[in-house]
Every structure is written in structure tokens, then in C-alpha cells.
């Protein structure tokens, strides 16, 4: 009947699950754990979106994707337009859909989060990126006419690739210099295959190359050529040189054999493919009892890698309680499903080795939670006399890292923070030198992929203004 009000759409609060490999199967392989939505599930999930007039979800996105817009396209079945919308602001959707902490960003600000059923934005983003790859027709965005300006980018990680993507579309000539033999930065050496298949990283890097970005691998800026040497040839430089030296706890025994930084452990397995030794020549040990110290995503990646390398028992040693674990809830759940044992409120104080200097035991203290500290989390306090020892034959330290020291060491006049990072203006990502910008872990220490990409977006916009003399 014409004058009847349209029926109010009933809220669908059933967030669609994404299929995963069974834990008992996946601990025996390095294949991706999450399998992605089927088309039908993706459309169902997209249809739950309320299409808010004033959406909050995109405010939670560090790169400002038009989330409601692309979800609407999925509902309409127009996947090509949907992925185009994402790519307007995000060059790496297949990666972000997998590794962004959406629950802290877009999905946190989604209106349905109040009903504990936010739209699974990350899963939909991933669905679209994989759909496009499966179609095999990767669309190239419209390119601005050439400006004749030359930009150098240090590091082919998430920050650098984002800058490259944005600036090449704006018509600049872009060259990336990568220190390692493969592109992707932490996406290649750090995040394991089972969470982010390397074929996907390569696919996204190939996409940026197809736009005309030149990439030189095995080129260590600061060493092979300094930043100042590059500035003789380039009009502007973006430094996204990433993570540097791993932190240790500075307790006795950390230089024993069998004690690894998470950077080393993961690089051996991911970049160097040690899990396929001896086909790939870089070895990795396969110990029986592994302790991973730390509680972030890198700790989860290390623990789950140890499980797959055949350890009998993998413990995650963390000084606060489960509620304070900085890792994504999803990763903690995956790790527990795979048999990782959480030793919470536990602080290692000493590593004990055998006569051949191989680690054999960890001595720990029990902790209790006190008043909230500067981070807002309850401060762990050691319980005196609670020392105990546990046998382990490998220990992975996953407690963070400092920014990479090479560029700060070799670039005069660059303002460096106390922690060793490049100091930038957060609104422009520009450093203390007018033609050098920086972003990602080289500025923030250990941060996330998407925050690095966010820095890259900000830097690219500021660099473009500078290059076009619009400042």
C-alpha cells in the first residue's frame, strides 16, 4: 500500500564467521589459516551494514577508506567498483584485509560494535582483493601526467610501497631502494606465511611495479649510497627503513645459544624459508620446548611458528594478565587453539645454560597486578620469593625493537629521537630536513602495518605539495 511506511530493516546481529583450517591440520603446515569468505557469505555480511548517513567506521581507518561505499557495492554485486573504491586510498587491500587490527580501528567505531556485532570490514576487504586477483584483471587507476619530479623511497615495506603508489599516480617518477633481496619489508621477513601468504605480498608489489615504480633490491641506503648522495639525483626522499635492532630484557644468559630475537627467528623462517631446510639453505632449529617472551602479535607469530616447526610444547611468557595482551584477540585465540600455553603474570629473570652454552632453563618470578601505570594498564609487580625454574631448549625474545639505525647514523642534520627514530611532524610526516620525509617503524619503533601505511599517505600528500611548489 502506497501510504504505508517502509518496514524498518531488522538488525542482523549475526556477524558471519570466516572459515579457518582446523587447528589439528594447520599446525602441520604453513598454509594460510583463515580461508576467506565465500561470495554468498560476503554479500550476507555486507548486507548487515546500516549504511549510516554519517558513518563512523571510516574515521577509524588510518588511511580513510570509504568503507560504507565499498560495502554498498558488494551488496549490489558490483565487486569491481567496490575494489576500485578501496584502491582510491589503499594500495594494499589484500594485506590490510588480513593483518590490520580492525577491532581497534574501523570495526571499533562501527555503529554495530555497540551491539557487539560490528561489520567484518577486514574480511570484506580481503574478499574483494582476492576476488580481483582471481578475476586476473587488475585495474590500473587513472594516472596524472608526468611531472618530471624524481622521488626516492628507502624500503619496500608497507610505508614505502604506499608512498610509491600515491606518488606515481600523481605523476612523479618513483624509485624504491630495498636493502633485502625481496620486497615487502616486515610483510616478508616478519609476518608468517600462515597469516599472510608471501604470494599475496608479491602480488601487491607487482601491482605497484605495474604502475611504473622502479625497485632496486639489495641496495642499502646509508651504506651503498647515503641519503645525501641520493638527494643529488632525487628531488625528495621518503625513509621507510623500518625496524632495527631487537630489544632484549638485559637479564643474564640472553647470549646463550638457543636464545633468539623474534626478528631472527621469524626472518630465518619467513624471508629465508628455513622451514623448508635443506631445500632452502638457511637452517632453523627445531627445539622441543620453546618459550616465547612477550605478548604482542610478533610473539604470537613466533609461538605459532614454533608449533609448526614441530615443538612439543610452546609457552608464551607474559608479565601481565591475559586481558592486557597487546596482540589481536583473534591471534591469541588462534595460538591457543594451536596448543600454545599462556604463562601469564610471569617474568623471566635469568636464562640458564648447559656446559656447551645452550639454554636449558628459564628462571621466572610470579607477578601480581597493582595500580594502573602510565599506559593505563595495571602494573605488574613481582611477588618476592616466587622464583621458579622451567626447562626450555629455546627462548624467543619478542619484546620489541628500536628503529633501524642505518639512516640515522649516516644522515647528518636529521633530528633523531631518544629511542633512535627519525623525528617527524605528525601532520606532514616531514623530518627536520626539508626534503626528507619518514614513516612507519623508523619513526614509531614497533608499530602496525596500517599505521605505517597511514604515515605513508600523509607523507605522500605533503611530498606532492612540496614537489609541485604548492607549499
Amino acid at each position: 500500500m502506497a501510504d504505508e511506511k517502509p518496514e524498518k530493516k531488522k538488525l542482523d546481529l549475526s556477524r558471519r564467521a570466516m572459515p579457518k583450517q582446523n587447528p589439528w591440520e594447520r599446525i602441520k603446515n604453513f598454509d594460510e589459516v583463515a580461508l576467506g569468505y565465500l561470495t554468498r557469505t560476503a554479500v550476507e555480511e555486507a548486507s548487515r551494514c546500516l549504511q549510516c548517513k554519517k558513518p563512523l567506521c571510516n574515521q577509524g581507518c588510518p588511511v580513510g577508506i570509504d568503507i560504507g561505499g565499498f560495502i554498498k557495492c558488494i551488496v549490489d554485486g558490483d565487486y569491481a567498483s567496490a575494489i576500485r573504491k578501496i584502491k582510491e586510498t589503499n594500495a594494499l587491500p589484500a594485506i590490510c584485509g588480513r593483518v590490520c587490527p580492525q577491532e581497534e580501528q574501523c570495526e571499533k567505531t562501527c555503529v554495530l560494535a555497540k551491539k557487539e556485532a560490528p561489520i567484518a570490514i577486514g574480511r570484506l576487504e580481503r574478499f574483494l582483493a582476492d576476488w580481483e586477483a582471481a578475476e586476473g584483471k587488475i585495474e590500473v587507476p587513472p594516472m596524472a601526467p608526468k611531472t618530471g619530479k624524481k622521488v626516492a623511497i628507502v624500503g619496500a615495506g608497507p610505508a614505502g610501497v604506499t608512498v610509491a603508489n600515491d606518488l606515481i599516480i600523481l605523476g612523479h617518477d618513483v624509485t624504491i631502494f630495498e636493502a633485502l633481496h625481496e620486497c615487502g619489508g616486515v610483510l616478508i621477513y616478519g609476518i608468517p606465511e600462515f597469516r599472510l601468504p608471501k604470494a599475496i605480498v608479491n602480488r601487491e608489489v607487482e601491482y605497484v611495479k605495474s604502475l611504473g615504480v622502479k625497485i632496486y633490491t639489495d641496495f642499502v641506503v646509508g651504506k651503498t649510497k647515503t641519503v645525501d648522495r641520493l638527494l643529488e639525483e632525487f628531488d625528495a626522499i621518503f625513509v621507510g627503513s623500518g625496524a632495527g635492532l631487537p630489544w632484549f630484557m638485559e637479564i643474564p644468559g640472553e647470549n646463550l645459544n638457543g636464545v633468539y630475537s623474534a626478528n631472527e627467528y621469524l626472518t630465518r623462517v619467513n624471508l629465508m624459508k628455513g622451514f623448508r631446510f635443506p631445500e632452502f639453505k638457511t637452517p632453523v632449529k627445531r627445539p622441543c620446548r620453546v618459550a616465547v617472551v612477550g605478548g604482542g602479535n610478533v610473539a604470537m607469530d613466533s609461538a605459532r611458528t614454533a608449533v609448526r616447526l614441530g615443538a612439543d610444547e610452546v609457552h608464551l611468557v607474559y608479565r601481565r594478565s591475559k586481558a592486557e595482551l597487546p596482540a589481536r584477540a583473534e591471534e591469541v585465540e588462534n595460538a591457543e587453539e594451536e596448543g600454545v600455553i599462556l604463562d601469564i603474570l610471569t617474568l623471566p629473570v635469568r636464562l640458564i645454560g648447559d656446559e656447551n652454552r645452550w639454554v636449558r632453563e628459564i628462571e621466572c618470578l610470579k607477578m601480581e597486578l597493582g595500580e594502573p601505570d602510565a599506559s593505563g594498564r595495571r602494573k605488574p609487580i613481582p611477588i618476592e620469593g616466587s622464583n621458579f625454574r622451567v626447562a626450555f631448549d629455546a627462548v624467543v625474545m619478542a619484546i620489541g625493537n628500536s628503529p633501524n639505525p642505518l639512516i640515522p647514523m649516516t644522515t647528518p642534520g636529521l633530528e633523531i629521537s631518544k629511542k633512535g627514530g627519525i623525528v617527524t611532524n605528525p601532520e606532514t610526516a616531514r623530518s627536520s630536513r626539508p626534503n626528507i620525509w619518514a614513516g612507519g617503524d623508523i619513526v614509531r619503533g614497533a608499530a602496525t602495518v596500517i599505521s605505517a601505511m597511514g604515515d605513508g599517505k600523509i607523507a605522500a600528500a605533503s611530498m606532492h605539495k612540496y614537489l609541485m611548489n604548492q607549499e
Partner: protein
């Protein structure tokens, strides 16, 4: 890809290896190292640089064939291409006018001490070069080193050339020649660098050693190359590779260096002997 210009065995198990890498050649300095990967499955192997030609864009290293990956390097022929040859890495050896400098080389370090001696000589130092080998047939580059040294001294374990004996004889040899060095720089195997540091310590001869730990990225990211220097953890790839030999925890270093020995040698057992030569 990087073109192999030359790869030949100069003495048993030691290979002279020259690669076309203009960007590396342009910036390389004495004491730096490079990282090489023999093929797409290969390890990243750090090698000290022994010489270079900036005009020709080539870099030369001397490497010892030890495990599976160096065996692959040892099979390369001129004209072959390798996927990775990256550098220069690490801090260069500090070159200054020190006065009298004793450069000690052994094994692959006879090669890598050469550019150091050359730079020291150019800086106006009196340069004595001391080479150590098990036997005379394991010595090489004596003529090159003679050109950049005031004197070349030799110790062989079997006495087939120079003084017979061990590297421990350094103080005796130097005292007999009436030389008191202001600085000692050692490039060689871990054991040799350790022994030299031990005998020079009581004499208070400042001794710089060019450390050679296991590395992966070599750019200050993974942390496997850590060692204790003066009770502090240092990273050889960015803080070194040169350190004060009197400050190093040698026992710890030796054991860390050996930690992958089984895996290193294992691939050799799986392949036929013939393929290594």
C-alpha cells in the same frame, strides 16, 4: 643479478671471488663486508672485502669453503650470475696516522687485511704485516701485501716458510725485530683473532679485531650477530665488525659461531663430493 668476473681457488679451500657490483665498489672501504647469496635458495653469507676496482666496478673477496652454501659459491664460474651481492655493510676500519701498525692476517683475512694495510700505509703509518698459515702452500697475496707494507713477516706452523710456530709467537717476533706497535689489527679466523688478543693484552698493545659472527640480514635488524664487548651486548653488523679484541667475551663468541655447525656441514654429506670442486 650480479656477474661473476672471477672465481678461482688460490690455495686449497680458499677462493678469490670477484663480482661486478658498481654501486658497492663505489662506496666500499677497508674493513667493510658484503653479503652474497649464491642462488635463490641460498643463505645470506657475509664476506669481508679484500680488494676492489672503482673504475671497473668490481669487488673482490676471499672466502673459505666450509659448508653447503660456500660450496655453492665455490662452483661459480666467470660469467655466472648471482642474485645478491649487497654492501658495503658494517663500519669501516678506522684509518688514521697511528705510527707503527702491525697488521695480522690469516686464512681469508690475508685477503681482507690487504686494503687495511694499504690505507694505513697511505695515511703515513709504518706498516708491518704478519701472515700466519699452517704451511707455506696456504699463503697467498704476499707480493701484493709487500707493496703496501714496510715489511712482511711470516709464521708457519710447520716452518716451511718464515718463523716456525704459532701466532702466539707474535710478541717474541716483534721484540726480536725491535718493533713496538702502536696498534695491532687482526683479520682472520676467530681462533687467531682470539689468540692474538690474548697475547697482546698483557703488553697493552691495542688490538682491533674484525669479527665474523653468523648473520642474516646484516643491516641491523635480526640481532643474531650479537656479542659481548666490555660486558655490553653489541651487534657486529652495525656497531662493528671491528671491536677491541681485549674487551670481547671470546668463549661466548666461539660458541655462538659454532651453533649451526651441524646444519652447515649436513648438506655436504647429502651431496656427492665431486660437485664441490
Amino acid at each position: 643479478m650480479y656477474k661473476v668476473i672471477e672465481r678461482r681457488m688460490i690455495v686449497p679451500n680458499l677462493h678469490e671471488f670477484t663480482v661486478q657490483a658498481p654501486a658497492v665498489a663505489e662506496s666500499i672501504k677497508p674493513g667493510n663486508f658484503i653479503i652474497v647469496r649464491p642462488d635463490q635458495y641460498g643463505e645470506r653469507i657475509p664476506l669481508s672485502v679484500a680488494d676492489w676496482d672503482r673504475d671497473a666496478g668490481t669487488v673482490t673477496t676471499i672466502f673459505m669453503q666450509v659448508g653447503g652454501s660456500t660450496a655453492m659459491l665455490a662452483r661459480l664460474k666467470p660469467g655466472d650470475a648471482i642474485p645478491t651481492f649487497v654492501g658495503p655493510l658494517g663500519k669501516e676500519t678506522a684509518i688514521d696516522t697511528f705510527g707503527t701498525v702491525l697488521c695480522v692476517g690469516g686464512c681469508y683475512g690475508i685477503g681482507s687485511i690487504y686494503p687495511i694495510a694499504r690505507a694505513l700505509k697511505q695515511a703515513g703509518n709504518k706498516v708491518y704485516t704478519l701472515l700466519e698459515a699452517r704451511s707455506s702452500f696456504l699463503l697467498y697475496w704476499e707480493d701484493k701485501l709487500a707493496k703496501v707494507s714496510d715489511q712482511v713477516l711470516v709464521i708457519t706452523r710447520d716452518g716451511t716458510k718464515g718463523r716456525k710456530g704459532h701466532i702466539d709467537k707474535i710478541p717474541e717476533i716483534m721484540q726480536r725485530a725491535g718493533i713496538t706497535p702502536d696498534l695491532v689489527i687482526v683479520n682472520g679466523c676467530t681462533f687467531q683473532m682470539m689468540r692474538v688478543s690474548m697475547v697482546t693484552k698483557p703488553l697493552a698493545w691495542k688490538t682491533i679485531v674484525n669479527m665474523n659472527p653468523i648473520m642474516i640480514d646484516g643491516t641491523g635488524m635480526c640481532g643474531v650477530c650479537r656479542l659481548s664487548v666490555g660486558g655490553k651486548t653489541k651487534f657486529a653488523c652495525v656497531d662493528g665488525p671491528d671491536f677491541d679484541g681485549h674487551e670481547i667475551d671470546w668463549e661466548e663468541f666461539l660458541s655462538r659461531r659454532k651453533s649451526y655447525n651441524p646444519e652447515e656441514v649436513d648438506p655436504l654429506r647429502r651431496s656427492s663430493c665431486r660437485s664441490h670442486f
